[in-house]
């Protein structure tokens, strides 16, 4: 599964990167975030775009799993 690292980026950049990456990876991807706003906004965006999203803690941040 493709993974994009959005640690250290503040919103809305993780959402924009997720949006772009989803265009090339229609099956889904993982997004690593360490910002609480991104932890909520990335799954919200993914769900609005018709994907399923789940979040799990990982290191100092979270892994957002976005699947079709």
């Amino acid at each position: 599964m493709v993974e994009i690292d959005c640690r250290g980026l503040s919103c809305p950049e993780p959402v924009i990167r997720t949006k772009k990456a989803l265009k090339d990876n229609a099956d889904g991807l993982d997004v690593i975030v360490d910002d609480r706003a991104a932890r909520e906004n990335v799954p919200r965006y993914a769900e609005a775009a018709g994907f399923k999203a789940s979040v799990q803690e990982e290191g100092d941040g979270w892994r957002v799993k976005i699947r079709k």
Partner: protein, 356 residues
């Protein structure tokens, strides 16, 4: 549990609207229950950084907002010391945002409060603000980023909120060290305890909901998300209702409190604020909140605004109420916008090249 989503933001906006109207009733200038730009400017004057006699006061609202955010983020384990994302550029952008806001005479929050008071000049400002945000969104979608931030020590993250506490303690213990306006907007203020409490409440609820005046319009343009705008809308509605009840609603362009009708400059001033806010990742209010949460980058942006405010008055860049900007303010606004466009373009082009 974090209060999130549209309902939380709408409640937050409603509380801000009500508190803003109440602060005016307690003594703040009309349509200025809160104004992050004006209040930082007053603090700059109070601290002798500029000497415009009508805008000097240590506004406890600003201190309260930063501390409210700091306290709640520590209590809820949201406190997150970070830094290193283009601090110098953030300082410059904060500076330009402040100059733009002082040409318009208000930050985005006061723009909405002015709208709720019937000031149609703020509608011109809103158009400029939305235009600036749209330009910022264009750059963001093309790859603009001020770069990653990195974990910082707790000392680094606490330093700015601590300095804020220190300022308040000195303000209480030795007020004679500071300058206080005897007339004009700086002389009009609610009692210190009420202002501080109002700031604390707003700091806490905005930290929890992440309300942002620029983020609402930005998210609509970029990702068709209407969550953040609900806070913006609620502030307007509740300020409007509050002003109608207290008799402070006056519809029109002329004779509005602490404002002017130089439409082009109201528009362009807020273009600078909108664009700069998107580049910084949030409006001036949001920068205070993030600084309270431990973001060194936002603390630097706030310091840029503080210095920008001092320059704006020392070099007559700020508009005069009822008159508008002088030649210096007009030049500074245009140069400021060009500077933001140059920074955005250079970073965006570099990032696109790097992405191949």
């Amino acid at each position: 549990m974090r209060i999130s989503g549209k309902i939380g933001l709408a409640i937050c906006g409603a509380i801000i609207g009500i508190i803003s109207v109440a602060l005016v009733a307690f003594g703040n200038p009309l349509n200025m229950g809160f104004c992050i730009a004006c209040f930082i400017r007053d603090i700059a004057g109070g601290m002798h950084l500029h000497t415009a006699p009508i805008v000097e006061y240590i506004r406890p609202e600003i201190i309260g907002i930063i501390l409210g955010s700091f306290l709640i983020s520590v209590a809820r384990k949201d406190f997150n010391p970070r830094g290193g994302s283009s601090p110098v550029l953030r300082f410059i952008i904060g500076f330009v945002v402040m100059v733009g806001a002082l040409v318009f005479l208000g930050c985005p929050l006061r723009m909405v409060l002015r709208l709720g008071g019937g000031d149609l000049n703020a509608l011109v400002g809103l158009l400029g603000f939305a235009c600036g945000i749209a330009i910022g969104c264009f750059f963001l979608s093309q790859g603009f980023s001020l770069g990653r931030s990195y974990k910082a020590t707790r000392l680094e993250g606490t330093a700015f909120p601590f300095m804020t506490i220190l300022l308040f303690v000195v303000f209480m213990a030795a007020p004679s060290l500071f300058l206080f306006s005897e007339s004009g907007p700086g002389s009009m203020h609610a009692p210190v305890a009420i202002s501080l409490l109002a700031g604390l409440i707003v700091g806490i609820i905005v930290e929890r909901t992440r309300l942002c005046m620029a983020g609402g319009i930005r998210d609509i343009i970029l990702i068709r998300d209407f969550t953040l705008i609900s806070g913006f809308a609620a502030i307007f509605v509740f300020t409007l209702i509050g002003n109608l009840i207290t008799g402070n609603f006056h519809l029109g362009f002329a004779d509005q409190p602490v404002s002017h009708s130089a439409h082009l400059w109201n528009f362009l001033g807020m273009v600078a604020v909108g664009l700069g806010s998107v580049m910084l990742g949030g409006c001036p209010l949001r920068q205070l909140i993030l600084a309270g949460e431990g973001s060194g980058d936002s603390a630097i942006a706030v310091l840029g605004m503080l210095v920008g405010a001092a320059f704006a008055h020392n070099f007559s860049l700020a508009s005069s109420a009822g008159v508008g900007p002088g030649i210096g303010g007009k030049i500074a606004t245009v140069v400021g916008i060009l500077l933001l466009l140059a920074i955005s373009s250079i970073i965006t082009m570099r990032n696109r090249r790097a992405d191949g």
